[in-house]
């Protein structure tokens, strides 16, 4: 008898608790904050291929939550300036609090792509080749911003009075079109540029590295040949362009096959973008699924954790065709991380022209 009562009590409590909680949901406790648009009288100089007024419009759009279906999420909600426009969680939350499928990539030094510039290979799997087309994808994505009908987006922007002036200044007309929105967002995101790290200044002979940073550089470039993939020295902007999608042996069986999902070719399974290491100290957690919380964990993967996947990159294999174990010592890890910290561009992450124009007094 006691048993019966116990079981019934547990089940009833769970069900009743659910209904009570559902009833409580109908009231919001959140209070509005009055923001104002803080834009300079003369547009900032974005040094890009678009007029500054177009990039300024893109900046407002980038930080405006009205671009999501329920006015809750902006591009800048997941791409945070202080984190080199990445996010500090494995998977960012979209408009309905569903988790994104991959870790948020930083935005910096992004190629425009297109017929004149060649494929841009954007996203973790390189599925987008042209930045103005790519910027609309998260807006329309059913997890991220949910605005599946981009014509509805245009109609919504028409109802927001502050865009009249911005579109007038950017395009000479208050008329709003989908193409103008995507161009403005591409103008802003492509203008987010980093070239003022200490390592940049070192490469130009304007700064020096400490002893431990220099040791880290030697380990990175020579002993462990990290530079063989990450090209921090060959490519000034730290953004690889060739062979930039590889399998680094994260798993024997990948739950997300990366490039393989796009091409349908089993030889591409488990291949993901080699990310830029620029601002890498700010972009944790790491990998396409944010599995590594720290750079130490990343180095430990290369030290002892590479899995023997059939598509494992040849640079991570021994002559016997097995995964390499770099056996990076604790002291060497400290040195490599010290070197990676020289890739941080403090001017980019504090530059007001890249910050949210919606300010609170």
């Amino acid at each position: 008898m006691k048993t019966k009562l116990l079981i019934i009590a547990v089940v009833t409590t769970a069900v009743v608790g659910n209904f009570i909680s559902c009833k409580k949901e109908d009231s919001a406790s959140i209070k509005p904050t009055t923001a104002y648009l803080d834009l300079p009288a003369i547009a900032y100089n974005y040094s890009g291929q678009f007029p500054n007024e177009v990039a300024t419009l893109g900046r407002v759009l980038f930080y405006d939550a009205h671009l999501s279906v329920n006015n809750a999420v902006a591009c800048g909600s997941c791409h945070k300036q202080a984190l080199a426009f990445s996010d500090n969680v494995a998977f960012s939350r979209g408009f309905e609090n569903h988790l994104a499928l991959r870790n948020t990539l930083p935005i910096q030094n992004i190629p425009m792509g297109g017929p004149f510039f060649g494929p841009a290979n954007l996203f973790w799997d390189g599925r987008a080749q042209f930045l103005p087309a790519m910027v609309l994808m998260p807006i329309a994505n059913h997890i991220e911003m949910g605005m599946s009908d981009l014509n509805a987006l245009v109609e919504r922007l028409k109802g927001l009075p502050y865009y009249d002036n911005l579109f007038q200044e950017a395009y000479g007309s208050t008329e709003i079109t989908k193409d103008e929105v995507s161009t403005a967002l591409a103008a802003f995101t492509s203008s987010i540029f980093s070239n003022k790290t200490r390592f940049d200044r070192y490469m130009m002979g304007q700064a020096s590295l400490s002893a431990i940073e220099q040791q880290g550089k030697d380990l990175f470039s020579n002993k462990y040949n990290c530079n063989g993939c990450h090209h921090v020295e060959q490519s000034f902007f730290g953004y690889p362009t060739d062979s930039s999608f590889i399998n680094i042996g994260l798993d024997v069986n990948y739950s997300d096959n990366g490039v393989g999902l796009i091409t349908g070719n089993p030889a591409d399974n488990g291949k993901f973008r080699i990310p830029s290491l620029r601002n890498v100290a700010l972009t944790a957690p790491y990998m396409h699924d944010g599995r590594f919380a720290t750079l130490d964990e990343v180095l430990e993967h290369y030290s002892h954790g590479i899995a023997n996947h059939p598509n494992l990159d040849s640079r991570l294999k021994t002559p016997e065709n097995t995964p390499i174990a770099m056996n990076i010592s604790s002291q060497e890890k400290v040195a490599i991380v010290a070197f990676l910290n020289t890739f941080t561009d403090y001017s980019m992450i504090t530059d007001p022209k890249f910050s949210s124009p919606f300010k609170v007094r």
Binding site: T3, K4, L6, I7, I8, V10, V11, T12, A14, V15, G17, N18, S21, C22, E25, A28, S29, I30, K31, P32, T33, T34, A35, Y36, L37, D64, A65, H66, V69, N70, N71, A72, V73, A74, S77, A90, F91, R93, F95, E96, N97, L99, G146, S148, G159, L160, P161, Y162, D251, V252, N253, S255, D289, G290, R291, F292, S356, F358, K359, V360
Partner: protein, 239 residues
């Protein structure tokens, strides 16, 4: 309504089977097990492949009634999760309240091998009801006036499915079992999203106020096969 029917059926089943217990002086026909499955906790302790994919059923309260002879069983489980998320991200502050109820019911059989181990298999019906209410509000002073918007979005996701379940348990004692399970479920989900936006624009220049209300309904359907690797752990107490 379906939820109420399910709960009613579950309670009736419990009442039926527990009423079927025989007096103490006769041999027991049924064994009763109550337990808890702590999927998320175990995943945090033992992460087999470093995969960060979220677990949607963080825990499950379970009840199993099984025949002493043959090991045939009726099992059921229910889990509930409630989250409140507050995001003050200027200009849009938003607050979400999410409730997630999942339950399953199924039949199966367990077989002892050795004195301590027990293997089981079964077929489950599984369902999930998730409600996400998000309130978003923004007020923007654009110089010549103020734009303010208040948005309420309600997303209701109902998922139903079925699939196979396999378990492996270890008898710590006569009355306490610890075990793990793997499942392979097919599920159909229907998501209904309603977004109600009230936009108010006050223009100081011509002293006008315009209020616009838009109500949008979206519905999406998805199907999926989900294989859960054996990272769930459960603790069972035999009554």
């Amino acid at each position: 309504m379906r939820l109420k029917l399910f709960c009613g059926a579950m309670l009736s089943a419990i009442a039926f089977f527990t009423t079927a217990q025989t007096p103490v002086d006769k041999p027991e026909k049924f064994n009763h097990y109550g337990g808890v499955q702590i999927n998320q906790l175990l995943k945090q302790i033992i992460n087999l492949n470093n995969n960060n994919a979220p677990i949607t059923n963080p825990y499950l309260l379970t009840y199993t009634i099984s025949t002493v002879k043959g090991g045939w069983n009726l099992h059921m489980g229910i889990g509930y999760d409630y989250k409140r998320i507050l995001d003050k991200n200027t200009p849009a502050n938003h607050e979400s309240k999410i409730s997630d109820l999942n339950y399953r019911v199924g039949v199966g059989q367990t077989v002892m091998f050795g004195k301590k181990f027990e293997a089981g298999y079964g077929l489950d019906y599984t369902a999930e009801h998730k409600v996400d209410k998000t309130f978003s509000t923004s007020v923007t002073n654009f110089g010549n006036g103020i734009d303010s918007s208040a948005t309420t979005s309600t997303s209701k996701t109902t998922s139903k499915g079925f699939g196979a379940q396999f378990t492996l348990s270890f008898h710590i004692s006569d009355r306490v079992l610890i075990g793990t399970e793997t499942t392979y479920y097919y599920a159909d989900a229907t998501q209904k999203l309603n977004v109600l936006i009230t936009e108010t624009v006050t223009n100081d220049f011509n002293n006008t106020t315009i209020v616009t209300t838009t109500n949008t309904n979206l519905e999406t359907e998805t199907s999926s096969f989900t294989f859960s690797v054996p990272v769930a752990i459960f603790l069972l107490l035999k009554f």
